[in-house]
Symmetry: C2
Subunit: 696 residues, 2 copies
């Protein structure tokens, strides 16, 4: 390094130190506050209570000089880590309950919500992030940089001071919204995770996360006994195998006495599993569950199974798991994706919810936007998740919502749990897109209380994340009132967020279309994508079934009969084209192009209007965001502005690609009152084959 480079380097450091105080998103919704003084009285000492106390002192926005009491006191109305709050006191059964109460109190102060005495209990016991992080530091479906747990490159197992700082921040952010578990590695698991070095690192991570109440779990490869244990088989009924797992789990608990358990993807998408040995999912899961029993650990067993032979992938999880109902141990939880196919922009709920009556089920949501524009598109997912959680399964009569059939209200289950596939990476703002933080937030908040409205969640998140009032370093020149800010920032941005998932549905896959992405990247459109050597159920035509007659997957009684997996009256409702909800029409029906829909227009016209509406919505979001400029720091303003521009271009590619492709079948004109495509289909086909749309 020569002298001038040193100067520049020094200069960079100075500038960065300064800029480091700007709103780079790293503080997420916990931005440093201009705190008032507060006295905190605690009846007990513990690392968790220390954190709770510190948080109050750092961020108190209540009466200057107030006294707040944190008290552990048994109360039957409080469930697990629930708490009772009032303006000046928090009561809980557990230390963690106190910490959660503190975060609730501070959140209310910061969002201006009144605080009266109130008991607040969690909806689900286990509120878990699933990290699809690989031991080499990459992340499957991660769009915000490399893993925060596993170093990319050679020193995957090193633990640096920087790691510890970052994990602590991570744990704090999670605790602030009630997330109490983290699966530290990809469900497509490496057997190496069970080797000593990795377990030591899991221990190191656990020690940082523990005071914040975030339990650690790992994903395991089912064939680990043969792969790393030197055994000839991994048959779950083989005694050597059983012994190997017993020893391994014992070894883990020796290192980590409060270890959470395993997440298992087995006999699924090429992953080894019990079926390789002629055994059932129950055989596999129970064997592990028995080994965990002495330690209180759990097995989360994924129901994401399908084979290339079946005529309808959407049916297979149900077909495989319903016969096993009642055979699973009480510390096994079947983890089921919200929809029957795979985290699409819109799906009906998976028919397994409510259908497994003697088996614990946990919903698996996807926070990372694998199918909703990665970290480029603004798509608030709370609306999608509420739609899912509030879906009525009718399995125990009307009102048997997915939420109630998984949170313990309807079924007698020892544990309740919910998982979200994380969107977190090493990017400074954790999630790549500032607004993707809102999905992390919404997952945590809904996992804690699935009755919260999206109105409340978004309002909380926007205020905590963007309000320039009473925060350090907001960098916004405040020459407006709180009311102005609410009118010109909070309200329009909330509107944008609440509309954003439907916009994605519209420009990607309206009316029940699903899985029409190009290739494996799951970003750009590819309804045409069908290379000869690719499994049919991995190509879009398998799902959209467009032909000269119409479009859509016939899952009625005369089709694949997937409707039969739903309880009445849903079964009949879905089965009948006239009663099937139009936003799921092409999920359940193959519909003729000129089918008259409820608005009197043909299916084809409706399809066109939806695609165009999606694009117009994104353009509207651009206008909304551009107008917020005076109310937001320039760093986040330009970041979001730029991403909305990408989204707008992408939405146009989606609209053009899908309409031009489907038009080859419909042979009908795109209604002349909507904007014409600006791309040619052949160009789009070539470019989506060559490289992902989001690759600059």
């Amino acid at each position: 390094m020569n002298f001038s480079k040193q100067i520049i380097s020094l200069f960079t450091i100075i500038v960065l130190s300064f800029v480091g105080h700007s709103e780079n998103g790293h503080d997420a919704w916990l931005r440093p506050k201009k705190a008032k003084t507060v006295n905190v009285i605690t009846s007990k000492q513990s690392p968790t209570i220390s954190i709770a106390k510190n948080e109050l002192i750092q961020s108190w926005q209540g009466t200057e000089g107030a006294t707040v009491t944190l008290r552990i006191k048994r109360n039957k109305s409080l469930k697990s880590d629930g708490f009772k709050i009032s303006e000046n006191s928090i009561q809980a059964n557990t230390d963690l309950g106190l910490l959660y109460g503190v975060y609730e109190l501070l959140r209310r102060q910061q969002t201006g919500v009144s605080i009266k005495e109130e008991i607040i209990n969690p909806s689900y016991d286990r509120r878990i992030l699933n990290h699809w992080d690989n031991p080499n530091g990459s992340i499957e479906r991660g769009y915000a940089g490399k893993s925060i747990f596993w170093h990319y490159g050679k020193d995957s197992l090193a633990v640096t001071d920087g790691d510890i700082k970052l994990w602590k921040e991570y744990a704090r952010i999670n605790a602030s919204i009630g997330i109490n578990g983290a699966v530290l590695n990809n469900v497509n698991a490496s057997p190496m995770m069970l080797t000593a070095g990795y377990l030591e690192k899991v221990k190191a991570i656990t020690e940082v996360l523990r005071p914040y109440g975030v339990k650690t779990y790992i994903s395991i490869k089912f064939s680990s006994p043969s792969l790393i244990g030197g055994l000839k088989t991994s048959d779950p009924l083989d005694t050597e195998v059983i012994t190997w797992w017993n020893n391994k789990i014992k070894e883990i608990y020796k290192l980590i006495p409060d270890f959470g358990g395993f997440l298992v993807k087995a006999s699924s998408e090429g992953q080894p599993g019990p079926q390789d040995y002629g055994r059932t999912h129950a055989d596999g899961a129970n064997m592990l569950a028995d080994a965990f029993k002495p330690y209180g650990g759990i097995v989360m067993w994924r129901a994401f199974v399908y084979s290339s032979n079946d005529v309808d992938r959407a049916k297979q999880a149900y077909t495989e798991f319903v016969p096993l109902d009642g055979q699973f141990r009480d510390n096994v939880i079947i983890q089921v994706k919200n929809g029957p196919v795979d985290f699409q922009p819109r799906e009906p709920f998976s028919s397994l919810f409510g259908a497994l009556k003697k088996t614990i089920i946990m919903p698996e949501l996807q926070i990372t936007q694998e199918y909703l524009g990665h970290s480029t598109h603004l798509a608030y997912l709370g609306t999608m998740w509420k739609e899912f959680l509030e879906s009525d399964t009718y399995q125990k009569g009307p009102g048997s919502t997915v939420a109630k059939s998984t949170d313990g209200s309807l079924y007698n289950q020892k544990i309740s749990a919910i998982a979200g596939v994380s969107n977190i990476g090493l990017d400074t703002n954790w999630t790549g897109h500032t607004f993707a933080q809102s999905n992390w937030y919404a997952f945590g908040r809904l996992a804690w209380n699935h009755e919260l409205t999206n109105d409340q969640i978004t309002e909380e998140w926007i205020t905590l994340t963007f309000s320039p009032f009473d925060v350090e370093n907001s960098q916004v020149k405040i020459d407006f009132s709180k009311q102005d800010w609410s009118n010109h920032f909070l309200k329009p941005v909330k509107h944008m967020m609440l509309d954003s998932r439907e916009a994605v549905v519209d420009y990607m896959m309206p009316l029940g279309l699903h899985h029409i992405f190009s290739a494996n990247e799951h970003y750009g459109p590819g309804p045409w994508y069908a290379p000869a050597r690719v499994r049919k159920d991995w190509t879009p035509p398998y799902y959209h079934k467009a032909d000269s007659l119409g479009i859509g997957f016939d899952r009625t009684e005369t089709g694949s009969n997937a409707v039969s997996q739903y309880e009445e009256p849903l079964r009949s409702e879905f089965n009948n084209i006239e009663t099937c909800p139009e936003n799921l029409l092409l999920w359940f029906h193959h519909v003729s192009w000129d089918y008259k829909m409820k608005n009197g227009k043909t299916l084809w016209d409706n399809l066109c209007y939806h695609y165009d509406a999606g694009l117009q919505k994104v353009r509207e979001f651009q206008k909304i965001w551009d107008k917020t400029k005076p109310y937001v720091d320039s760093e986040r303003f330009y970041e979001v502005q730029s991403k909305l521009r990408d989204q707008s271009r992408n939405a146009q590619v989606w609209k053009d690609g899908c309409l031009l492709y489907f038009q080859e079948f419909s042979k009908m004109p795109i209604p002349y009152d909507i904007e014409r495509p600006i791309h040619d289909l052949e160009d789009l086909k070539i470019s989506t084959m060559k490289r992902p749309l989001n690759y600059k």
Copy 2:
């Protein structure tokens, strides 16, 4: 080739033979007609009259079995190749006049215009295409394939049967609109053009063009005497040089007795010229003119001169040529581009028009869309040319339009002439974009009669080019009336054409902006383009002069004083910001961003609205074109549709690039009622540097 390949090949040939009859645009506006029978009586035989007779027989749409008389008879009212037509007879002073009369008669039949006895004379004597074709077959600023005259690759000089067929078609199309001259090579001329092989080829071309009345010219390199003649100098006053040119011209006339003359770009943009030897343009041009005198040849001497030192490139042609007024021979014509800079989407007329009072001037128009979207954008240029021709120079009082000051009405000049830089290449449809044919057509028609309206020209062209009635192989299923066709095709398409140049102005360079293209390709936006080593007058900031105060080139009396080159009252009108036409505002003034314009909005807002309006207009064109589908063959429909899509994408890049760049100076928001940019400026800067926008 194996058997199956042979089969495919055979199949391809069959299909192509069939498709060969489709509307691929090669017939331009002379599509084969379902002719009625006609008797043609001629008083004379000649190759030209044979053609005239044949045209009538091939395309007659008048009364079945009518008799038409073609008669050569002196008539003082007929100028040069003018003619007198009636329903059944054509009279002219020349054979070519008869041919022109035939084309006029047929055009009227095909466009349904009534034919009464009428004398029709040309506005300009010489109506010349300038081909910027290089001897190696490439074309400077050519966007429709390689040269039709010079083969690309090794056999540049070969003359094939295919060439002769193509040249004949070319000559016929030109004759049909009155074009009577062609400069066969680039103004940036190779000295090789004067060598025997090339002259032989010029002769071959001339022989094909001659019966159609298309005279040939060539561009020459001024330093040819030293480059290929073995002389030590090319000084125009040097006797050896004079002798060399005399001999060369004699040699040419021996081969081609009716040779037209030379086009000369000298002492311009690095081309050698008389100034290299301390001589004037007059010295150079007159030396050549003297050599041509005995043969009736002419010298077209270009006034496109500017040096990098001057503060205002727009002033230089005037500064250099006005002092020479009166010094040029009467067979020298100064060829002047319409605008003072260079074929921009909108410029004021060049101040030389009307100002050279004792020198013949010919306007040089550019048919090839160097600065208006190449062969990708639909831009009908007739509107631009009429705006130019009708501009009042005031040089001989009000009404001294450019047209009148060049066609011989105002000044006593032996010859009148007009040139258009051709957009023709080897593409099947000649011009790349079907609608670019309309510019070839409009140039010819206006050169013949500059009083034609664009309404008439476009209506003629659209009807001749697209009408499915009474033509062979139209491939359009006619289930509509002529009136329907007029309402649903002719009128909307005409509207689109008439609006198209203003659309380009709007999305590229509204309000008098000019020359803000990226790099040398002259296609995409590059207001930011200013590499350190590039001449300042070859970079956009030289022209737009955007800064924190405002934007535009101050050419007022207190600026570069280019206004002084215009005659009153124009000088004062341009000089005063309040009276300067708003569509030339930034050409003449550096205007503050917040300057209130006539509509009450700021300059910045107006700039934004113009850029957006340009984009919206292109989107409107897409709608218009998409609706024409039932009325046009699919080959041309999809070709134009696809190009409009490109244009729409490009217009968005232009809008975004220019607004985002200029916003860095204006620091004002883009009005919130218009669509937001979808590109980021930095991306556009990088991509326009890396590759042209039109490169797929």
